[in-house]
């Protein structure tokens, strides 16, 4: 079934076609003839995009996620001030300028300033970078651990499965936040040593987080939060991947691959993994949101990023002291950005769940096709 048979094309569909064509071109340049051999796969992808384009929650989610990523990448570059520009030392009138208010020099502060005269807009922009990098690092470093252990556990079964599951039990037996606090509070000293002996790592991290070299000592706390989240995060993942692997393992194509003499790892990577990718993608999208939320919670508790590093959770904490005095924008404004970002990932994940489920999508597509005729 091709996309034209099912849907009337809309503007968004042209956009996604354009995007998909670009990707196919890139793959073709690496592996000539790929698009011809995988035509049905590409048609399937187009249908998925078209379905996503027709899901209102998916579109809202996509817009929120895309703007978060764009702000995360370009925010620090376009921020009017640096996150450590304490304007209050220039002029005390830079303190507590309300959103949209003007500074002593006549400059407009769209989101106001805080107790140190820092521009809240710039803090939010830099904070997006922090959240984005934390979420990316947790996913890139953490997801493979969870996925590989889940594949092993589900595929081999028996004693190794029992062992891995008992370990996940331990991690899931009490609230992840508490465990993450414990790890994040104990790790910084070790990480500080690691960073001091590996300046290249420190430099990479400084540029990733877009930080001033003077804040290098504060990197350790930030990195320990990332490691702590990975440690509490993989077991849930392993559980889900194991469950999907257990059912995928019983398929005939796995049997066939075995009969053809394919090794266990080959089967896991070439046959099982691609078939459980859809639920993993959905959970990953939803989890980016919860990682951002957990990280904000940890830094709110004073365990993650240390000031002056801009971090959404920490900004809310620092600003909360002034809430009683009526300076609400210090804590309430940055929180809205956390809410919108996490909501975006949740909406997108929710929509992806429907789009990536071939059965649910197919039934809709058949109905639409009939109608179109």
């Amino acid at each position: 079934m091709s996309a034209e048979e099912v849907y009337e094309k809309k503007l968004l569909d042209h956009l996604s076609d354009f995007f998909l064509k670009g990707i196919v071109k890139i793959i073709d340049s690496i592996r000539p003839g790929w698009s011809v051999r995988n035509k049905s796969k590409i048609d399937e992808w187009r249908l998925m995009f078209y379905a996503l384009n027709r899901s209102p929650t998916g579109i809202v989610g996509l817009i929120l996620v895309a703007s978060f990523i764009l702000i995360g990448i370009f925010g620090p570059l376009v921020a009017p001030y640096s996150y450590n520009d304490l304007l209050v030392f220039k002029n005390t009138h830079y303190r507590f300028i309300p959103p949209g208010g003007r500074g002593p020099g006549g400059e407009i502060f769209l989101l106001g300033t805080d107790d140190y005269g820092r521009d809240m807009l710039s803090l939010v922009l830099y904070g997006a970078r922090t959240s984005l990098v934390v979420a990316l690092l947790v996913i890139i470093l953490g997801a493979p651990i969870g996925i590989i252990l889940g594949l092993i556990s589900g595929y081999y079964g028996g004693k190794i499965d029992e062992l891995i599951m008992r370990i996940t039990d331990i991690f899931l037996a009490f609230p992840g936040l508490i465990l993450a606090i414990a790890f994040a509070a104990t790790l910084p000293d070790r990480i500080r040593g690691l960073l001091e002996t590996n300046p290249w790592l420190q430099n990479i991290m400084l540029s990733l987080f877009s930080l001033d070299p003077a804040d290098a000592p504060r990197l350790a706390n930030l990195l320990s939060v990332i490691i702590a989240i990975i440690i509490v995060w993989w077991p849930g993942y392993t559980r889900i991947v194991r469950g999907s692997t257990l059912s995928a393992r019983e398929n005939v194509y796995v049997e066939a691959a075995k009969a053809m003499g394919m090794g266990s790892w080959g089967i896991m990577i070439k046959h099982i993994f691609p078939n459980i990718l859809a639920p993993i993608l959905v959970i990953l999208t939803l989890d980016v949101g919860s990682v951002i939320l957990l990280e904000a919670g940890l830094s709110y508790l004073g365990i993650g990023a240390q000031p002056p590093i801009a971090d959404w959770g920490r900004i809310v904490y620092d600003g909360s002291r002034w809430l009683i005095r009526g300076y609400w924008w210090l804590s309430l404004l940055p929180g809205i950005f956390i809410l919108l970002t996490v909501l975006g990932f949740n909406l997108l994940g929710d929509a992806l769940r429907d789009v990536l489920d071939p059965k649910a999508r197919r039934s809709i597509e058949f109905k639409l096709k009939k109608k179109k005729r």
Binding site: A182, T186, L332
Partner: protein, 346 residues
């Protein structure tokens, strides 16, 4: 029932390795800190060597780690170990209550009971707002109310708890002073462990009202995620049973709608109870942040303070309790299945 008993015993036995694993894990984390805990406990840089040495002796800090671990677990078992930070026995801090307390005020109530009370309040919100919302949303399927309830679940899990807390503090305390944020009145006598119930039992109604007034907002914040989640689960479960054959049959027999709804809801309870049980764990996990926002001296705050001050005995005691409650909550969920649904057998 004999089967159920066997099932419970079997599950309780599996608790033991998990609890050992959990405490060992936290013990290892605690030992990752290169800092000298004895020095920190004795008061930092200025502490005299004799005091530090005495603390080392007392907590067996000079022994290998497994000796330390066994010592700690044994002492926790007999409630014979004193937190180097609060100078109270750990289970007194957490459960039994102390005579002369931490943070200014003594309390007859352990930190755990303060958190438990908060959690129960939050649970009330979840049950009495979440379930009716879910049923309403199912009855008015595809109406604006329905989509509002469904998006409430997504908004709930996306909201940073601390931000919601400050938002409500700003509205209800800074703008319109209708709530209280300071102090924590206690009834004169501890009976059940839950302050409000004790106050009501003792006839100290004004204290009960003060406690409710103090906890209404934090409990709502803590339960906010759960309300949406339960509404969504209730909606889906209720829709499924609402279309079942026995409801059709009931309609054909001309039963009243309220009667039909009772049947449908009862059959929808299994998934609802599962998620409620999971929510209980989630509520405990969310307690540290909510307690920090509203300044409630509960167990979550206790654990955070313990971690910040390298107070491992208290940390491990708290983790042990957390894990135990978590697992017990799951067990209770499984048992309630059998009580709600006679088709479930163990």
């Amino acid at each position: 029932m004999a089967e159920l008993k066997r099932f419970i015993v079997r599950r309780l036995v599996t608790f033991i390795p998990t609890l050992i694993g959990v405490t060992l894990l936290v013990f290892i984390i605690a030992n990752l800190i290169p800092a000298d805990p004895a020095r920190a406990w004795a008061g930092g840089e200025k502490a005299s060597p004799e005091v530090i040495e005495r603390i080392r002796e007392e907590y067996h800090l000079n022994d290998p780690w497994y000796v330390q671990y066994v010592f700690l677990m044994k002492k926790l078992f007999t409630n014979d170990i004193v937190s180097p930070r609060t100078h109270n026995k750990i289970w007194d801090d957490l459960i039994f209550g102390t005579s002369q307390g931490v943070a200014g005020a003594g309390t007859k109530y352990g930190r755990f009971f303060i958190t438990l009370q908060l959690t129960l309040f939050a649970f009330l919100y979840i049950v009495f707002i979440g379930i009716p919302l879910g049923v309403l949303s199912a009855l008015k399927k595809d109406s604006p109310l329905d989509s509002a309830v469904r998006s409430l679940a997504l908004v709930g899990v996306s909201t940073p708890v601390f931000w919601l807390g400050y938002l409500l503090i700003y509205i209800f305390f800074v703008r319109f002073r209708v709530i209280e944020l300071a102090g924590f009145p206690e009834p004169t006598q501890r009976i059940t462990g839950i302050m409000v119930i004790d106050a009501l039992l003792l006839g100290e109604n004004d204290i009960a009202i003060q406690i409710i007034n103090r906890l209404a907002l934090p409990a709502f914040v803590l339960g906010f995620i759960g309300i949406g989640v339960i509404a969504r689960i209730t909606r889906n479960a209720f829709l499924e049973t609402w279309n079942a054959d026995y409801i059709e049959f009931g309609k054909a027999r001309g039963l009243r709608k309220s009667r039909l709804m009772r049947h449908a809801l009862k059959n929808a309870l299994v998934p609802i109870v599962t998620v409620l049980g999971l929510q209980f764990g989630g509520l405990l996990g969310g307690a540290p942040i909510t307690e920090t926002v509203f300044g409630i001296p509960g167990m979550g705050r206790y654990m955070i303070e313990a971690i910040r001050n390298f107070d491992y005995p208290a940390l491990i005691g708290g983790v042990l309790l957390f894990a135990l409650i978590y697992m017990l909550a799951n067990l209770i969920v499984d048992i309630t299945y059998a009580l709600i649904d006679p088709r479930v057998r163990y």
